[in-house]
């Protein structure tokens, strides 16, 4: 096993995911995506929503550490 296995795996994973992402956006232009709510039919809306939600969740979670994080063994003190 090479040492940089994980790095190369990460790189090719990123490459494929980006290709799939681009294809999914392109697909959106080829047909009319029916949704329950008309604003969700905007091109690439679920993609945008997914990206923003994810970043928001991680960033808010990170910020919440200030209030919610204590030392390991906090309850034993």
């Amino acid at each position: 096993m090479k040492k940089n296995d994980l790095k190369s795996m990460g790189k090719s994973f990123t490459k494929y995911i980006l290709i799939i992402g681009a294809l999914l956006i392109l697909l959106d232009f080829t047909f009319h995506r029916h949704e329950y709510f008309s604003f969700a039919e905007i091109y690439g809306f679920p993609a945008f929503f997914g990206f923003v939600s994810f970043v928001f969740i991680v960033m808010l979670g990170k910020w919440l550490r200030k209030f919610l994080m204590r030392k390991e063994g906090y309850y034993d003190q």
Binding site: E35, Y36, P46, F49, F51, F54, L68
Partner: protein
């Protein structure tokens, strides 16, 4: 004869016989008992066993279209747990697990609130031994807290049942509302076990403290029994829609920062329950089907994820993200199974989560509930974050590992393999799942619109993850404790109670001294009342006292 035998009871009887069965035959005997219990699945619908006692008619065994899917999946879960724990020689845990699964199956078939109460408490009393079998001091403390909360839920259920009988003369399971006082008691009783917001602390407190195999058993039954009970008694209760939506969204943030991956999965479990609760709240045939389907597939993929983390704990000795990584080289099968579980829970098309969650989302969309719809859509990105990416990434990838570990034992791989197979099979052939749902369904989850929409959400959420990692914005894992709602009774109440008790102690001390007696002498050896360590040691019982007092006050209010 079998038609009159309560499903699950044979498992409980077998659990008591386990000590006299030689070690080698214990697991086969456990499997056999589950198989015998599963024969009841072919009995059809109806009432099979009633018992008149003390002027009450108890319906001990009834079955209908809502019972059946839960009964099927509870039996499957029991089988998975038994196979997964095949290597273990912990007799107490085996007994507790089999009796716990049996009690949960028995509870599904109860037709009145008193019978349900008996099984409800039986699940509490059996499962506490599973937490206890974690065999660490933390596990033992968590088990005590768990017991208090679970039993309190049962007491509330009993109060509700008594009030209902007193006020209406009826105690059979029926659709209730929140306009009656007994309805409220029963609702809270179910809410505790379903881990409603702020009532959820016990779940993340106890599950991660249990043993490698124990957590798998715990994850399957208690909370889904509560979902079943809610679906039976409170379908269409509006408040459940919001309660469920909050449950889907909030645990997501806690899961981001939690370091213990089994605790991350416990937060994730809570978030999944939210989807089911929303489905119950909507209360249409489609949404209730969605809840049942989601409970069904959830039990499998959540068990799979807990099994994969159990295997990691078994081999690597920890599930702390800060100390894991790189296990993919040493545990390739576990890695693949974990990824299948992760893709199922994230609801990738062709995996089981997709075909179940779609039912709930469609019923929300069909009703025009735009805000709730997007809260759940948002929470879906959250599920991907904590269960889809965080669990497999930090356990198996993240960085290279220095110490070698072995692949999981063969029995664990078999159990995970079966669960992984089911995740994909249900995802690819959803019609078999739809056939056993309570209402007839004519639903097609695989429409181009739906598949593309879901894939866009998931793929771009993954891209967001890669983006955050690339720019070093993704929070690193830190050894820590994340505060949760159990903080209220683990820190806040003792924080108020300790000085108060101390003052009372001092007061009574001086009183007794004036009387020529020392209060300390009266209670000296066993209690050490004015010594603070006493309070620390008995925090669970202290919390218990508070809880029981609250219950008592509620009872007085209702009766007055």
């Amino acid at each position: 004869m079998i038609s009159n035998f309560i499903p699950g009871l044979i498992m409980i009887i077998t659990s008591f016989l386990l000590p006299i069965i030689p070690q080698y035959f214990r697991h086969p005997a456990m499997l056999l008992s589950v198989g015998l219990s599963a024969l009841s699945l072919f009995n059809g619908y109806g009432t099979f066993l009633e018992w008149d006692i003390l002027g009450l008619n108890l319906i001990l065994y009834q079955s209908d279209s809502l019972t059946l899917p839960f009964a099927i999946i509870f039996h499957i879960a029991a089988i998975l747990v038994i196979i997964f724990s095949w290597h273990s020689k912990n007799l107490m845990e085996h007994m507790a697990t089999l009796a716990y699964a049996g009690s949960a199956i028995g509870a599904l078939h109860a037709g009145d609130f008193f019978s349900l109460f008996i099984w409800w408490e039986a699940t509490a009393l059996t499962s506490v031994f599973i937490v206890f079998a974690g065999n660490t001091n933390a596990a033992k403390d968590a088990a005590m807290r768990y017991l208090i909360i679970q039993v309190s839920s049962g007491v509330l259920l009993l109060i509700g049942a008594c009030l209902m009988l007193y006020q209406t003369g009826n105690h059979n399971l029926a659709v209730l509302d929140l306009k009656t006082n007994f309805g409220i008691f029963i609702f809270i009783a179910f809410g505790i076990k379903a881990a409603f917001p702020l009532l959820n602390g016990w779940l993340q407190d106890s599950y991660p403290e249990s043993s490698v195999t124990g957590t798998v058993a715990l994850s399957a039954f208690t909370t889904k029994l509560a979902i079943y009970a809610l679906a039976r008694t409170f379908p269409g209760t509006d408040s459940l829609i919001w309660i469920g939506a909050i449950m889907t969204a909030f645990p997501v943030f806690f899961a981001v920062i939690e370091n213990d991956l089994r605790r991350v999965l416990s937060f994730s479990l809570n978030n999944q329950l939210g989807f089911m609760v929303v489905g119950i709240g909507i209360g249409t045939e489609l949404s209730l089907n969605g809840t049942v389907a989601h409970a069904f597939v959830h039990i499998i993929y959540k068990a799979l994820l807990f099994m994969s983390m159990g295997a990691v704990l078994y081999r690597a000795g920890t599930t702390k993200a800060s100390e894991l990584g790189g296990l993919y080289k040493y545990m390739p099968f576990t890695t693949i199974f974990c990824i299948i579980g992760a893709m199922s829970i994230s609801a990738f098309p062709l995996f089981s989560g997709f075909v179940a969650k779609s039912l709930i989302m469609s019923s929300l969309g069909g009703m025009g509930m735009v805000l709730i719809y997007f809260i759940l859509f948002f929470a879906s990105a959250g599920v991907l974050e904590h269960s889809g990416i965080k669990i497999p990434y930090f356990a198996f990838f993240a960085h290279e590992r220095k110490n070698k570990v072995k692949e999981a034992p063969i029995n664990m791989l078999i159990a995970m393999g079966i669960a992984a197979f089911l995740c994909i099979a249900i995802g690819v052939f959803p019609k078999y799942l739809y056939q056993i749902l309570p209402y007839a369904v004519d639903y097609q989850p695989y429409t181009l619109d739906h598949v593309i929409s879901q894939l866009q959400l998931l793929v771009f959420a993954i891209i967001a993850f890669l983006f955050l990692v690339k720019f070093k914005l993704y929070p690193s894992e830190i050894r820590s404790t994340v505060l949760n709602s159990d903080w209220f009774y683990r820190k806040m109440l003792p924080g108020i109670g300790k000085p108060l008790f101390k003052k009372i102690g001092l007061l009574t001390d001086s009183l007794y001294k004036n009387l020529g007696l020392s209060f300390k002498q009266v209670l000296s050896k066993s209690y050490k009342f004015s010594n603070l360590s006493y309070i620390k040691v008995t925090t669970p019982s202290f919390a218990g006292t508070i809880l029981i007092s609250i219950l008592f006050i509620m009872l007085v209010i209702v009766l007055v």
